[in-house]
């Protein structure tokens, strides 16, 4: 049979296949920077062999805004509003370590009412964040409906937060020493209504996703992150807890008034996508418990401690951390006595979490890649800062 030059005979190819000599080529697939599954500008350089992912390298930096440089030009109140934009799903929690760091250096007493309100807002924010990831994980696996349900549940809590802070996303509400102002009338009712609604409807959503056999097939045993690997990468938050690590700053080193509340740290031992998601969903319930308890014990009084007119942290260094929605958010503050920090190292949870992604993604399927990306709950702004 006449064959064009350079083209092999079909029988030749057939023989190669049967004898196992056929050389296949790996394909480089560029997932992102614009891709629906990366929810943000995030790129994954994937080397694939058919449906198999041979290697994957996360590429970040598309949203780098240089926070650590910007904060050196700004005073503490301005930074509060800046760091709020870091992780745009848990904004108010971003403000917390900064406020705590300045308070510790300046030895400011935060009034109890402010501490309680901070706890409440942080937990409300955690619920908002987790619902968001509940939604997006479903959407990445092809189930579009959880998105809409989750957004409906978010709305009441979101409105409560907006009523209190004036912002829908960027709250800018914590100040060194306490809160910007007290919450408006109706905040408690609105927030409690929202939280209870979430809790009431959560079983429905578990039926929709967690109990679904297809969902289980897609997630159980997929993307296993081992405990020691998680430690080595500094993975924290729901992802670490999904790998069986009982790690929660709220319990280990209680800040604010977290030691006064009864809640559990949800952990799951298997470290796969399902367990990470399971932990995420169950943290919503724990947060709701904390909110209810905090509202019940909410003391009255001022929400601002005695803070000098000009906030100038004295010379010193401190590392402060808090449990952000996605893990440990730490700030290493070095002050030289100015109104502005000398250096503020921001250790964000998503950054460490995503650095482990390359390890987990190796030798999975292309479809699993999406499931793993979805279950790694990251926010791009938090990674790139």
């Amino acid at each position: 049979m006449a064959v064009a030059p350079g083209v092999r005979d079909a029988s030749e190819v057939a023989e190669e296949i049967s004898s196992g000599r056929l050389v296949t080529e790996e394909m480089l697939l560029n997932v992102g920077p614009q891709h629906p599954a990366t929810h943000g500008v995030f790129r994954l350089l994937a080397t694939i062999d058919g449906e198999k992912l041979v290697d994957a390298e996360p590429v970040i930096g598309y949203m780098h805004r240089g926070y650590e440089k910007l904060v050196e030009q700004r005073d503490y109140r301005q930074i509060t509003n800046l760091v709020s934009r870091m992780d745009w799903l848990s904004n108010i929690q971003n403000e917390l370590p900064l406020a705590m760091a300045v308070e510790s250096l300046m030895e400011i007493e935060v009034p109890p009412r402010a501490q309680y309100l901070r706890v409440i807002m942080c937990e409300l924010n955690r619920i908002l964040n987790h619902l968001m990831f509940f939604a997006s994980f479903g959407a990445e696996l092809g189930a579009i409906t959880p998105t809409f349900y989750a957004f409906r549940e978010r709305e009441d809590i979101q409105m409560a937060m907006e009523a209190a802070t004036g912002g829908r996303m960027h709250f800018g509400f914590f100040r060194p020493g306490g809160l910007k102002e007290d919450v408006p009338r109706g905040f408690i009712a609105q927030a409690l209504k929202g939280v209870r609604q979430v809790i009431d409807r959560l079983p429905d959503y578990e039926n929709l996703l967690l109990g679904n056999e297809i969902f289980k097939q897609r997630t159980i045993g997929v993307g296993v992150l081992e405990k020691e690997v998680a430690y080595s990468y500094g993975v924290s938050g729901p992802i670490a807890r999904g790998s069986g690590i009982d790690f929660d700053v709220r319990k280990d080193e209680p800040y604010l008034v977290y030691d006064q509340f009864d809640f559990q740290v949800s952990t799951a031992p298997n470290g796969d996508c399902f367990d990470r998601f399971w932990v995420l969903v169950h943290e919503v319930v724990e947060s709701a418990k904390i909110v209810e308890q905090a509202f019940e014990g909410l003391p009255s009084g001022p929400v601002m401690g005695k803070v000098p007119r000009v906030v100038q942290a004295p010379v010193g260094e401190i590392y402060v951390r808090s449990e952000n929605s996605l893990g440990e958010l730490g700030m290493y503050l070095i002050s030289d006595g100015d109104r502005r920090p000398y250096r503020l190292k921001i250790r964000t949870p998503s950054y460490n979490n995503v650095s482990a992604l390359g390890h987990v993604l190796r030798d999975t399927f292309v479809s699993d890649m999406i499931a793993i990306l979805g279950s790694f709950f990251f926010v791009l702004g938090d990674i790139d800062r």
Binding site: Q78, N81, L82, E103, S104, E107, E109, P111, P112, E155, D156, M159, A160, E162, A164, G166, G167, G172, R175, K180, E181, D182, V183, R185, G186, I188, A189, Q190, L192, I199, D204, N207, L208, G211, N212, E213, K216, P254, Y255, V257, Y258, D262, S266, P269, F274, H282, V285, E286, F295, E296, G297, P299, S300, G301, V303, M304, V307, R309, V310, V311
Partner: protein, 438 residues
């Protein structure tokens, strides 16, 4: 309660969840979506219907031009450098014959570039003369980015859309409380303000009447010298300065008045406290105060019944006074905060624990809730944080009309005992029932 019936980090439950349900899970999921087919919809058709945004919403910044004294604080504090102010000095004839001619700043240009603004609200926060306000309006997009720089005329137009600030939540510290002297100074200052405000309620903004928050808020620049101010500004300028209580005075005065700030001691920072000494001062005044308040908060009453005879007239009585000008800022007219604890003085922690546990059990709470609440009570008792019947001051109802019904105390007690209808706060969410399926 739904929250606690679910025992969560229970490994058995996880292993159950990981088992296959042989297609039953698929059917359950289909039932969930089908159920939603018959539910009322909560979608808001945006351009036709609009959401009722809360008064604090940071939509657009409105400028009250006549209040601006060109102190430049907003422009200096702006993190984005997006406020542009031009001004010139003007010499006014002396007030009295033979006096010195006075100088004042005249605003030529005040512009905010909304293409740079990050909507942090620092300018509104720092403005000492209440010239800047947040408005809820947000529909001002433009085809040309240059149009997003709003000059002072446009900024002044937004003033018509500014809402009065919301009332504060129960238990909030009232503005103007720290010193009795401050209260009167405040009233004076408020009275002296120009009367041509667009909304009369704006006048009663807490930040304005308040001197206390001023102390807490921080400005990086000292207030400018009073001498350069026009008369009415001078008067106002003095109030924050005068009212500034000496460090320590704050708590003392509060203690004398039986205010909440004194009864609750700030706790040391738990995480970071290692490096510093925990200062805990117990005020002798609070015990007596709490004891006397016990009468208004009977023990074990369900919260909705608590604002009883004692509390209600107090609120009504308070309103006209506060209407008149925030004069009643002292400790009178306490609105009884619903409470489940007796107003005992220093209760034994263990006793508190048992009592709350019992109460909760009799109320039918689930064991976890009961335990959690009991633990909270014990910790509080240990810390001497009497949360009982804290005399939450009558929240000065800023814009309530005289005919308004007495404000109900916020149900902040036990959640399951709470009344079915949450208090219609300023948030007024769009409830599911309001919306019909389109």
């Amino acid at each position: 309660m739904a929250v606690d019936e679910r025992k969560l980090s229970d490994a058995r439950k996880l292993s159950d969840a990981r088992k296959s349900g042989f297609g039953l899970g698929l059917l359950k999921g289909m039932a969930v979506t089908l159920k939603h087919l018959f539910k009322h919809n909560t979608v808001i058709q945006y351009p036709d219907e609009k959401q009722d945004l809360p008064p604090r919403t940071r939509g657009v910044i409105a400028l009250k031009e006549e209040n601006c004294t060109v102190c430049m604080l907003c422009a200096r504090e702006c993190p984005d450098w997006c406020i542009y102010i031009d001004s010139h000095k003007e010499t006014l004839p002396p007030k009295r014959a033979g006096g010195r001619p006075r100088k004042r700043n005249v605003l030529d240009r005040f512009a905010i570039d909304y293409s740079l603004c990050m909507y942090c609200g620092i300018c509104v926060e720092v403005c000492p003369y209440d010239a800047l306000f947040w408005s809820r309006e947000f529909e001002y997009s433009e085809y040309d980015i240059r149009q997003l720089t709003h000059e002072k005329e446009r900024l002044a137009d937004w003033m018509t859309t500014v809402l009065p600030p919301p009332e504060l939540e129960q238990g909030a510290d009232l503005p103007g409380q720290p010193a009795a002297a401050a209260a009167s100074a405040t009233v004076e200052a408020t009275g002296a303000r120009p009367a041509n405000l667009t909304s009369s309620a704006v006048e009663a903004r807490p930040e304005q009447a308040a001197t206390a928050p001023r102390e807490g808020s921080f400005t990086t620049e000292p207030a400018r010298p009073a001498s350069s101010l026009p008369p009415q500004e001078q008067k106002r300028e003095t109030s924050p300065e005068d009212a500034q209580p000496a460090p320590g005075l704050d708590t003392e005065v509060k203690a004398a008045q039986g205010l909440p700030g004194a009864t609750t001691q700030p706790e040391p920072e738990v995480t970071l406290g290692a490096g510093r000494a925990a200062e805990s001062v117990t005020q002798p005044a609070d015990t007596a105060q709490v004891g006397s308040d016990a009468t208004s908060a009977p023990e074990g009453q369900p919260p909705q019944k608590t604002p009883s005879v004692a509390a209600e007239p107090a609120v009504t009585a308070a309103e006209p006074v506060s209407q008149a000008g925030l004069r009643n800022l002292g400790g009178q007219a306490p609105v009884a905060r619903p409470s489940t604890e007796p107003a005992g003085v220093a209760e034994d922690p263990e006793a508190a624990y048992r009592r709350v546990l019992q109460e909760q059990a009799s109320r039918g709470s689930s064991p976890q809730v009961a335990e959690a609440r009991a633990k909270v009570a014990r910790v509080k008792a240990e810390r001497g944080m009497a949360r009982t019947a804290t005399p939450a001051p009558a929240t000065a109802p800023v814009q309530s009309a005289p005919q308004a019904t007495p404000t109900e105390p916020e149900p902040s007690g036990a959640p399951e005992a709470q009344g079915p209808a949450p208090e219609p706060g300023p948030v007024a969410p769009t409830a599911d029932e309001d919306r019909t399926d389109g």
